[in-house]
Amino acid sequence: MIEVAKQEWERLFKEVLVAALRMTHTKDSMLVATHRDRAREATQRAFERCLRVRPAEVRSVDALRAYLVKAVRSELSHANDEQESRLEREGAAAVEQATVGGSVHTSAEVIHLDAARALRRRNRAALAIERLREELTAQSDAIALGTVDCIAAGKTEPADQAAFLKCSVEEIYAARKRRKRVLEKILDALDGGDKEDA
């Protein structure tokens, strides 16, 4: 793993913290402090994880930044999972405890809750992609729509997408920005105007 100076490391910490704060941004004033704390904790854990894992493939500052941002996303999604399922798990634990003999098998409640959660995730994703396509078609944004089709077909690299869509890589990056804005609005609407479940 690349070695960085303290000054550079602290700058990266601020950058990743800003990214985490943006990821957890909420319009609900009651939740602002909670989300800010989650962003700080996730950033702290991402940096600790980086030091613990010391990923060998990280050989540049850009790669390190990308790794840390991914780590923060992962930490936040774990935090979401934990927060979302705490009540459900508590309920499931109570049911298991009440079972005579303490069965080693997963209880029916837990299986149903897991299945329901997976179904909810699948439906949310399907709906989001469908609406994204509709919106980009309505805006006649062929390149942004093309990037979604490319990803569906397994082409994720901007250069590959540019070659396939017969445009420049810069146009692909510009289309990604437009696509991001549209997707954010759709996900906000799906999640009830909040990014809590994002």
Binding site: M1, I2, E3, V4, A5, K6, Q7, E8, W9, E10, R11, L12, F13, K14, E15, V16, L17, V18, A19, L21, M23, V32, R36, A39, R40, Q44, F47, E48, C50, L51, S60, V61, D62, R65, A66, V69, K70, R73, R121, R122, A125, A126, A128, I129, E130, L132, V148, I151, A152, A153, G154, T156, Y173, R176, K177, R179, K180, L183, E184, A198
Partner: protein, 185 residues
């Protein structure tokens, strides 16, 4: 053409959005970053209080984020201190070895006379000494291990060729002179 599931597509879209955002944040100035942190209710100075130590003391040459006068300079130099402590520990261990070996050699002279007088088998005694050496090695008492091995060698030089003795001597050497096998340090 194999098609991805909506869940996978959404994951890629969100990942690319995060990458783009990170790139945009990287282009922000220090002041702009601090401003955004303050707007979010985070004190930039306090935020850095719990940052874990940086992975390494040196910045890569020509680093994009560092000012030119700081690039390549160490932000802290703990390694030199560690090397000195290792050197001092090694020197102390060697000195202890020599002192004890000298004391034992004085003892061995009288013991050799005793062996001759009592007719004890030197090979058997060497074997016992080597057992003690291996036990000392297991306890990581490297100096004692070396002393027993040396004493056994004087009684039974041919026993030195045993694989177990060779391994024990290597372990003692590695423990007492950790830097010796690493040229250039």
């Amino acid at each position: 053409m194999s098609r991805r599931h909506p869940e996978e597509i959404l994951a890629v879209l969100e990942e690319q959005a995060a990458e783009d955002e990170a790139r945009a944040i990287a282009k922000m100035s220090d002041a702009a970053l601090d401003d955004e942190l303050r707007r979010a209710g985070v004190d930039p100075e306090k935020a850095l209080e719990n940052v874990p130590a940086a992975p390494g003391a040196f910045a890569p040459a020509g680093s994009a984020l560092l000012p030119a006068d700081n690039a390549g300079k160490p932000s802290r130099a703990p390694r030199r201190r560690v090397r000195w402590s290792v050197a001092w520990t090694g020197a102390a261990a060697v000195a202890a070895c020599l002192a004890i070996a000298f004391a034992l050699s004085q003892k061995d002279d009288t013991r050799e006379d005793a062996v001759a007088a009592h007719g004890r088998d030197p090979t058997r005694e060497a074997s016992e000494l080597r057992d003690q050496a291996f036990a000392a090695c297991d306890r990581e008492e490297w100096a004692l291990c070396q002393i027993h091995l040396d004493a056994a060698k004087r009684l039974d030089p041919r026993g030195e060729e045993s694989a177990r003795v060779v391994r024990a001597r290597q372990a003692v050497h590695d423990a007492l002179f950790p830097d010796a096998s690493m040229p250039g340090q």
